[in-house]
């Protein structure tokens, strides 16, 4: 055996013996500190808008996981396309650990408003789960903005507001199949949203399922 081999072996053995005197780290199961939780809870970035979620759904974004945290009855009545149901009471159950405790997907929690989803977010985040978001305004906002988009009023006539409005009209057509009012009669105004919407619909049937 060479001298360098001996030195390396001696160092490794020394490190191994030293390791015996230290406690466990548990590198993956940790409860974050209250300070950290409070800091994260105050970040606006923990919310995701209904527009963003609508866009991800229309693009069949594979990184999106939608979790409906309401109870099973409400889930059965109405939910978002492709959403799974984990009621807030059982969100910390062992069954869902593998699915929720990950760092690849964006997990969007939603309820009717934001309240229930916020509770679920805090519970999961306290165990240091990654990639969690709350749907801002919940299904109410989804209903208001995506399913029944309102034309911007006179006080906010910006191109930004109109862009959003037209996106929402397209999204409404995509999710409900109802042609937005004012675009139905003549083919001319419908030209813009129509081809985009149709193509994306095909993607959904093939992908997300």
């Amino acid at each position: 055996m060479k001298k360098t081999d001996k030195i390396i072996i001696a160092l490794l053995v020394l490190g191994g013996i030293l390791a015996l005197f230290y406690p466990d780290t548990h590198p993956f199961r940790r409860v974050i500190s209250q300070k950290e939780l409070a800091y994260d809870a105050a970040l606006p970035s923990r919310y995701v808008s209904v527009d963003k979620v609508a866009k991800m759904l229309m693009e069949s974004d594979p990184s999106l996981i939608l979790v409906d945290v309401r109870d099973a009855d409400q889930y059965a009545k109405y939910t978002l396309p492709g959403a799974m149901n984990i009621p807030v009471d059982s969100i910390l159950s062992e069954k869902y650990v593998d699915m929720l405790d990950q760092d690849v997907y964006t997990v969007v929690l939603f309820s009717n408003g934001s309240g229930l989803a916020d509770q679920a977010w805090l519970m999961l985040r306290s165990y240091d789960y990654q990639g969690l978001k709350v749907l801002k305004g919940g299904l109410n906002a989804w209903y208001r903005n995506i399913l029944h988009p309102q034309e911007p009023d006179a006080t906010e006539v910006t191109s930004e507001a109109y862009k959003r409005y037209f996106f929402r009209k397209g999204a409404m057509y995509y999710f409900t199949g109802i042609r937005p009012a004012g675009t139905s009669a003549s083919p001319k105004p419908a030209v813009a949203p129509k081809p985009v919407v149709k193509r994306k619909k095909k993607e959904v049937t093939g992908g997300c399922g």
Binding site: M1, D5, I8, I9, L12, V13, G15, G16, I17, L18, A19, L20, F21, Y22, P23, D24, T25, H26, P27, F28, R29, R30, V97, D98, D101, Q102, D103, D128
Partner: protein, 206 residues
């Protein structure tokens, strides 16, 4: 203090630059150790060369002991490092394929890149195979491999937790096993070397 990037102490450009520099160092050392020689790599399976096994064991142990101690000394926050979930069946299958590739092709993915950069044609052929494999997997990701990918799910576990022993004890036992392997392998290798003629050694590039 560490890791630097997840705590945003390092911007993405510098992160890439550091990755680039480490990559150069890695390739340089691989070449310097003779890892771009296919016979040296395949030697680990025949018993005439222990370099590969020594290197991998030493690297794993250095990282294991280093991360563990540095976490306790407050130099690195282990909770901010990436920790993947374990799927033991696909890992076993992948490991078997990798091992076969290792002994048939004489390269592992990293050394094939190093060897390709030194202009070895067999390394370029190996890389072409790697690319075919990668793209083949991408295009069959959803259709063929969905079942295999999700099989044998253990979640986020490590050996000490799985065995129910303290992490420190596991590290110590791992060191003991590694040292015993070093010594035994060295003996096997010496046994080979005394049997091999000078010409054989030259042909193998040892």
């Amino acid at each position: 203090m560490g890791p630097l990037y997840p705590q945003e102490l390092l911007n993405p450009e510098y992160n890439l630059l550091i990755g680039f520099l480490i990559g150069i160092g890695f390739g340089f050392i691989l070449e310097a150790m003779g890892f771009t020689n296919t016979r040296k790599l395949a030697g680990v399976f025949y018993g005439y060369d222990a370099t590969v096994i020594k290197t991998f064991f030493t690297a794993a142990l250095t990282a294991l002991i280093g991360l563990f101690l540095m976490h306790h000394w407050g130099w690195i926050d282990i909770y901010k490092t990436f920790y993947p979930s374990t799927f033991w069946i696909p890992t076993l299958v992948g490991g078997a394929i990798m091992g076969l590739g290792f002994v048939i092709g004489g390269f592992c993915p990293g050394t094939s890149l190093s060897a390709a950069s030194t202009g070895k044609w067999d390394a370029w052929a190996f890389l072409a195979g790697v690319m075919i494999g990668i793209y083949g997997f991408i295009f069959t990701y959803k259709s063929w491999w969905a079942g295999l990918r999700a099989s044998g799910k253990l979640g986020k576990v490590n050996f000490p937790q799985w065995l129910g022993i303290k992490e420190g004890i596991f590290i110590f036992l791992f060191v003991v096993v590694a040292v015993i392997t070093f010594v035994l392998y060295q003996k096997w290798q010496n046994h080979w070397k005394t049997k091999m003629s000078k010409e054989d050694m030259d042909e193998l590039g040892l």
